[in-house]
Subunit: 268 residues, 2 copies
């Protein structure tokens, strides 16, 4: 290995925390580079050309090679550093189960992150008087439906999502719930209705790496909830892509800014 | 191998076609079982308990083991039958690129499938007089944005999405475009604005396996467009989960049926 890995991330991002925790759990040496996603720095053309055309974090830089998407980053590190087999499965069937989870999660739990984002961050981005009820409603719907499947299927008869040992599937799911927990997004009675998820979340939260990776989130969001912290967002586009209720991804919320008709521009 | 693989799928489904083409390309013996997703057969509790808690296809049954999610199915088959390395990458870097694509695709191109679904199938499911403009708008937005990144990044300087040889990334993306192409979803001038995607799509469409797997889609959707075929949907829930504009996944479109307040039910 010619040079240390560089890890571009932000501690408020669920996928960033998941891959970061994976590297910490496995004692992988890497340099932290926090990208300030409250600005538009990662949405600039320069950033996109240099690192990632989607303008998103996390991003892993390994010399002249760049990988993004948290699951791809973790798989890359897992293979390069020959991490223990439980993370991505030691048998064909264990691998299948983990592969199944990380694909399922992308359009379920990950989009359920909208329940957090549109409650906690959106007022700082778009202003406190905008109505985000449709976005929150969508986020909660996906989140609750995903929790039902986690409770009855993924966590049925086992301590971790894909077996008796922790895997990367647990880390991606965990950090969705870390955000919800820090933001008090899930009401107490909904936690109680999902006793397996509650026990699994406590089990994972007790890990030293979970605490280290989640500290910023609990601290900052705790202060947001008490009103002690006002996050200054200078960006005007969504940071949790794909959770918008009405429009597409990188262009904010069309129903709030109908002047930029992206679809008409492409079709013209 | 004790028994032949069973593959539960429907030819109208993009993910079903992708994994099916993968098995055909690699001469994997399997038994086709078409699941009639125009009914609610795969959404019944019996189906969910037996095969897949999400009620979705494709599903691969290998004796007593079941895998769902198209990417997980293809990875399982790829490993079990030791398929050629180009499908999921022969080097660490090639694998990283493919892993990156299949995760990116899940919340971009896949959700862009809504442009097709809400134009072609939704009127048969919910009735011809309902307004799906918000859903179509969302689908087009995601689709066009994804196409921009495909054109400028994934297909830059190469014939296939992840390198000089075909990979599973190409198959998942291909079948999104097969649906759009069959349904005439993408206007001619938008195809012309994306010459690399157009050339890539022609290149993949020329494969014998693509033709075999896509025949039903072109035939049926061609007849829908001329008015010759009216698809009889007896189900009333969305078949392209995650593409809804307003609500969550498995419960149809809340703004069309506000009586079932799923969120309130979970929180009560």
């Amino acid at each position: 290995m010619a040079s240390k890995l560089r890890y571009l991330h932000h501690p408020a991002s669920q996928p960033c925390r998941s891959a970061r925790q994976f590297m910490i759990e496995n004692d992988i040496p890497f340099e932290d580079e926090v990208v300030d996603i409250t600005t538009n720095i990662n949405e600039t053309q320069e950033f996109r050309d240099k690192y990632n055309p989607t303008g998103q974090v996390p991003i892993l830089v390994d010399g002249d090679f760049i990988v993004w998407e948290n699951v791809a980053i973790a798989r890359y590190v897992n293979e390069k550093f020959d991490c223990p087999g439980h993370w991505f499965g030691s048998t064909l069937r264990a691998r299948a189960r983990i592969n199944q989870f990380v694909q399922w999660y992308a359009y379920t739990l990950r989009l359920g992150g909208g329940a957090f984002h549109w409650t906690i961050f959106a007022p700082f981005i778009y202003g406190p008087n905008k109505d985000f009820s449709a976005e929150r409603r969508k986020g909660y719907h996906v989140l609750y439906e995903s929790m039902g499947i986690m409770e009855r299927y993924w966590l049925k008869d086992r301590d971790y999502l894909c077996g008796d040992e922790v895997s990367y599937a647990d880390l991606v799911a965990l950090h969705e719930f870390v955000s919800h927990h820090a933001g008090k997004i899930i009401p107490d009675n909904v936690w109680k209705k999902h006793p397996r998820i509650s026990a699994w979340f406590e089990r994972l939260s007790a890990r030293a790496a979970t605490k280290a990776v989640s500290e910023w989130q609990y601290d900052a969001i705790g202060k947001v909830l008490t009103g002690e912290l006002k996050v200054k967002f200078t960006r005007r586009t969504a940071v949790l892509k794909g959770t918008e209720a009405y429009g597409g991804h990188n262009h904010g919320i069309p129903h709030l800014d109908e002047e930029d008709d992206y679809i008409a521009r492409v079709e013209s």
